[in-house]
Amino acid sequence: MQITDAAGCKWVLSTSTISDGDNLAFGATPAMPCPASGFGEGSFEKLSWKVPGTYRGDNWSRVYVHPSTLIFNKNLEAAVKNKAVAYLSPEADQAAFLVGEIPARQMKVYLAFQRSNWGALRPFSNDPYYVAVTPDESFALDAAKYREAAVEVFELIKATSPSTTDVATLLIAKNLSAIAANGWNDNAQKIVRNRIGLNRNSLFFDVREGTNWTAQREQQRLREERQRQAELARVHTRVLARYEQLQAGMGEFKGRETEALAQMAGITVRIGSPLALQDPGSSASVAPMMVHVTGKKGDFYNIDFPSKGRLVAEEEFGEGWYVARVANATPYYPLEDGRAIPTYRAYGVGEPQPCKQDKCADQVSFGAVLAREFPGAGIDFSWTPEVSQRFVNDWKNASAQVQ
């Protein structure tokens, strides 16, 4: 909450202590010389404020008021003077000041100050801790690189803020907001937390200490990866067994492998018996069927696969092989020479697309069959046994490494 005092200086105070309509009495020693901005700034021996007629009020000795109106203990002046506030938490209990950048690491380095947000806000009085922000967390996975980065950050701080070199927390995160709420926020934004600083003039830092969220995430990822790998290996072992089985069954379909595959992939390649085709009960369902269109005669397209017959369609069919969605219409068309002709009505979306190869070989494969039987195993049309074998081998190798 921003308040203007009798001398025309603006103050920022916690809303939790001030109610609307309160009159505030301010005191400053020496007197507050409000600069052009109108905000109080500078060093003071004593600052006080009070709501007359209440117990509410406070007074602080030896403080520094930063141009942002944030108030610090006098001993922190050197660390924050002439630096801009880069971040202020919503509760105003965390503030970060940019001290420099390491362009090679796309890294910005900050001093972060923390104070209690309970009750009336007091001046920041604790020593700052160190924060670095970078999108690249890869250094955290390697001890040497981690140390290198941490030291580089500390060197920058030492160079730009010589008054703050004590051993303190170092937090490296992907986003500055990671420091808010005392770190109770989402760990996903954090990379590492450790302690670094000068202790009796020598650098204190140990990569094995602290918390390494990136490494934790990596371990979790590896665990999940292994589980996924194991699961895939299990499924693909079954896929391979099924493939063997299908192959064995193919012997029966010598010369008609494509048809057998299409059938297994859910494409009709043989029609029902003439009696079954007469059943009107069968004409409501629509299913994909492989057809070979040989020409057009009157209202009908002639087909000679799966058997000699006819196709009725709104769309235009050229000569060739198609996988068409059809319904049985045999019972509703007149007999030819006393014989019922298998007749289907085709339903399409847009212009029918002919297959590129005879018997639609380009539309059926073991992959298509297995993808249907093992949904979610990541099998596609171009599947070969090697694909599944690779999953199984990957897992074998991974297990071997662990042992």
Binding site: P274, S283, Y332
Partner: protein, 404 residues
Amino acid sequence: MTKQMNKKQLLIGGVAAAVLALGGGYAMLSSSGKKAAMAYYEDFKERYFLEDVLSEGDISYSAFSGNLTVADPEIRMAAAQTNGAEQFMRGLQGLFESARGGSPEEGLAGWAKYQLNATASRYTAGVYLKADALKLAHEGDSKDGKIHIQLIGMQMANPYVSRKGAELVLVSDVNDEIQPRAELTANGRATQSDFAWGANLAVRQPVTGAFLVSSTGAYGTTVDLDFTLQRSSDGEGTMKFVVTHRNDGSKVGEIVRKADFQSLPELDDVELQLKNALSGLIVGAYSSFTGQSVLAEAVSGFARKAKVENYSVSYSGFKPLKEAYSAFQERAPKAKFAAFCDEVGLSTWSSDFGAKGKNHSDSECAIGQKLVEDGKFEEAYAFKEGKSLFAALFVSKAYELETN
């Protein structure tokens, strides 16, 4: 009957089914005049509960041939009210419930099941029978007489029928409503129709060679049925049943069944068995298991009383089957004949595997194969003297079989 049932042969089926296919009938005692013939016809209709369902064209009588001819006979009846005699049906069911103890897969019961499976699909919807003419002729009496029944030009179309309430519905009646539309419905179906389609009993009888129509799709076929049963006063008799398939008037094929009886029950009695057998099929429309019991019971009743000298079946012609097989072979050059049977829906149920010899079967599929290969299928049985048909078949094998 159930006690002796085993996997032995069931040729009996052929004999009895031949008879029941027509619904049977026999001459009344003094049947020489038109009046008597008409009276017989009325009686015939009443016996088979056809009064309400049979519509007929002109009825004429020829004194010269003794034929009573009913033009354009047409039967439409939905299974809901088969013969309009539901009470009758329930009574029959109760009567034969007791026969359920038998093992249904074997022997005669197996045959009865085959007969019913051939006629029923998911369920039997009813009977639609349409023919050019029904001719009845009869002479003599129950002990010494002759029955001659012909059904000319029976249409084999309409293998599936449905019903709306008690009314029988043909596909052609509701063509526009049930055929796939140009656009799919919201739920991705080609048509929205709540008719339930089931088998038409009249055109699915194996004995009429219906399977030869169904396997080629020749639903334009018409069938002539010609049945003669003759008995002389000493009890000897003959049966001849000729089924002729025609397409556009020309003959496609022929099935001939012949039997010589050493001893035939009196025609009255035969007629009773026939009626029971017919009932079996009708009951089957309600409950295939009960229908099966009724049918097996009726047939065995006949077999216990008859002594057969010989019986033969021959199928000849049926060239369209060969054409269908050739077309199949083009698509699947290495497939076995059984695969063709599977594709066109020919049953592989054989009345006997054991007793007939290794390479012979009388299944639809086997008949089809012989027709394709040789243009004919033949079976001839010669029975030993003195035994009833039932004993010869089920108690101890007492016949010899010759086949082509």
